[in-house]
């Protein structure tokens, strides 16, 4: 039985400061602020092996260590990424709506570690309930002196501010988010300079995902050594796996990294609906290449998924059963990327539109073998060529489906129709 430390037990309301404190909340922040130096906090998080839960999986402690030491000419900021928009991903929302003080406590500790003046939490505009719950928690935390001028009798000022996005996926990309937070179009910036040098308003900024920050109170409260006992040597701690699609019990499950995909689908999510056969699984949000049913025994950690030819991403697992047409699935995802490209890089702007049109063509039974080759070649031009990774993701998604389910794509071309008439409709 997994011990949860991110989500409260089912049926327990931990949204108020009182309830959160009753469960031991803010003790880790007290410890960090009053008993630990900033460097000691960073060292502890580094030692814990915590890796970012927003998709890229970078070492959180290392990221914090890139920030300048206090006393520089510019203030430092935290930009907390709550723009959860990767299709198949709905985990940060669980923290925001059910355990908002956990995020605030994590931000206080992170703020201490990098000597930040403030944290800006960028919440996707559609998450109106999450925004309201977090805003209420924030007001309570300020009233209790946990945030604001001289917070927690630390002699330092640290506050948290909320800002809302407005429906653009690209603002989940760290520099797209920074541009958006500054009140501009969310078009990603070229790097270098990285946000730790030139982030919000040109100041040093650490960008961390909601879940990533929410692991920090447990690491400080119980120690890096405890944290490392959970998961695998290179993927430590619990994580929030979101399971959706053709399963009996879709939802978010807090489990150790490295939990076998089979156990997540069949034990936790109740198996494939209607007793149907499993066909395909997207393991970490639609940006990550799809897996076929015969890969269901993979462990859900960074290394194992890499060996399986995909990535952990956000841990958003989309399950598809035998009725699902893979060309249609690829088409839905290509339509998404075509809609969400910010348009500044040619390869991405044109490539996402090409992939969508090619897949439409094939799905309609009008494709040719040449179209399959064109998907590969367009995908090749889109990878590693652009300012941000949206282009790579769009290419991986399309070529991933094509490579893993080539026979089904060829059947569409050769039979000039969809061979799965009972499939979902895009």
């Amino acid at each position: 039985m997994t011990e949860r430390y991110l989500l409260p037990p089912d049926g327990v309301d931990r949204r108020t400061l009182e309830a959160y404190r009753r469960a031991g909340g803010y003790a880790a922040a007290e410890r960090a602020v009053h008993e630990m130096t900033a460097d000691a906090v960073i060292e502890e998080v580094k030692t814990s092996g915590l890796r970012g839960r927003g998709g890229a999986g970078f070492s959180t402690g290392q990221k914090w260590s890139f920030m300048p030491k206090p006393g520089g000419s510019k203030p430092s900021y935290i930009a907390c990424n709550a723009d959860e928009s990767e299709p198949g991903t709905f985990k940060d929302r669980q923290i925001l709506e059910r355990n908002p003080h956990l995020l605030l406590e994590g931000l206080i500790i992170a703020g201490h570690a990098i000597a930040a003046r403030a944290a800006y939490v960028y919440i996707r505009g559609e998450y109106v309930t999450a925004y309201r719950v977090l805003a209420a928690a924030l007001a309570e935390a300020r009233a209790a002196g946990l945030l604001g001028a001289g917070h927690m009798q630390s002699g330092r000022d640290f506050d948290v501010h909320l800002m809302r996005g407005a429906g653009a996926y690209i603002c989940g990309e760290e520099t797209g988010m920074i541009e958006s937070a500054e009140g501009k179009k969310g078009q990603p910036r070229k790097r270098p300079p990285f946000p730790a040098v030139y982030g919000l308003w040109g100041c040093p900024t650490t960008v961390n995902n909601v879940e990533t920050i929410s692991h920090v109170p447990a690491i400080i409260g119980r120690g890096a050594a405890w944290f490392k006992t959970i998961g695998t040597p290179t993927s430590t701690g619990n994580t929030l796996y979101g399971v959706s699609g053709h399963v009996n019990r879709p939802g978010v499950y807090e489990l150790p990294l490295g939990t076998p995909l089979r156990a997540i689908i069949y034990e936790h999510a109740g198996g494939v609906r209607g007793g149907r056969a499993l066909k395909a699984i997207i393991p970490g949000g639609v940006s990550m290449p799809v897996l076929a049913a015969d890969q269901v025994d993979v462990a859900m950690d960074h290394d194992s998924l890499k060996r399986a030819g995909t990535l952990l991403g956000t841990g958003g697992i989309v399950v598809m059963d035998e009725t699902a047409c893979m060309v249609r699935a690829a088409l839905v995802i290509a339509r998404f990327f075509r809609h969400e490209t910010c348009g500044q890089c040619t390869q991405c702007r044109e490539g996402t539109a090409w992939l969508y049109r090619l897949l439409q063509h094939i799905e309609a039974g009008e494709g040719s073998d040449g179209d399959l080759a064109t998907i590969e070649s367009v995908g090749g031009y889109m990878e590693g060529q652009t300012i941000c990774a949206l282009s790579d993701a769009a290419a991986w998604a399309a070529t991933g489906f094509l490579r893993r389910f080539r026979a089904e794509f060829e059947a569409h071309v050769h039979e000039r129709r969809c061979p799965l008439p009972g499939s979902f409709v895009p």
Binding site: S85, R93, T129, G167, A181, V243, P250, R328, A329
Partner: protein
């Protein structure tokens, strides 16, 4: 403000916008929140109001318009009083989002992207709302999600949201 001085925004909305400004080192950072306040009052952000917001935040009108037109949640032109947004991304598609859209089109007598002639309902297809475990997910205006929607449940949905 009243219509007398040409403002299309209420004093409350203007004050809500100005209250955002001190949170940030630069007033421009308040723009996205400002536009949410505008849309909560008016339902959309027409060009004259974009100019008003620009004046409030000390921006050029184009700096407001490029944001209004970049972000899918902002509408430069009016939409229905109840703007129904159906997620059609992968998890919702697998759960029958297309059937939900078709049922709504038929019931409302409009195509996806359109608005009923009386201005009550408009229908939009949107990308992932972040509620994949409770697909199909529908959002009306900027209100909390309506989850687990099915095509055979749209009469109840329309009654609940009207």
């Amino acid at each position: 403000m009243s219509a007398a001085d040409g403002s299309m925004l209420s004093e409350a909305t203007r004050q809500a916008i100005l209250a955002e400004v001190p949170k940030y080192p630069e007033p421009r950072a308040a723009l996205l929140m400002a536009l949410h306040h505008v849309q909560a009052e008016l339902g959309h952000v027409p060009i004259p109001v974009q100019c008003e917001v620009a004046a409030l935040l000390g921006l050029r009108p184009i700096e407001v318009r490029e944001v209004v037109t970049f972000y899918p949640m902002y509408h430069e032109h009016s939409v229905g009083r109840r703007n129904i947004q159906v997620c059609v991304n992968i998890a919702c598609a697998l759960a029958g989002a297309r059937d939900v859209v078709r049922a709504l089109e038929e019931r409302l007598g409009i195509a996806s992207g359109g608005c009923t002639p009386d201005g009550t309902f408009s229908l939009e297809e949107v990308q992932c709302l972040g509620s994949c475990g409770t697909a199909v997910c529908v959002q009306v205006n900027n209100e909390p999600f309506v989850e687990n929607v099915r095509a055979d449940g749209i009469d109840a949905l329309l009654r609940a949201i009207d």
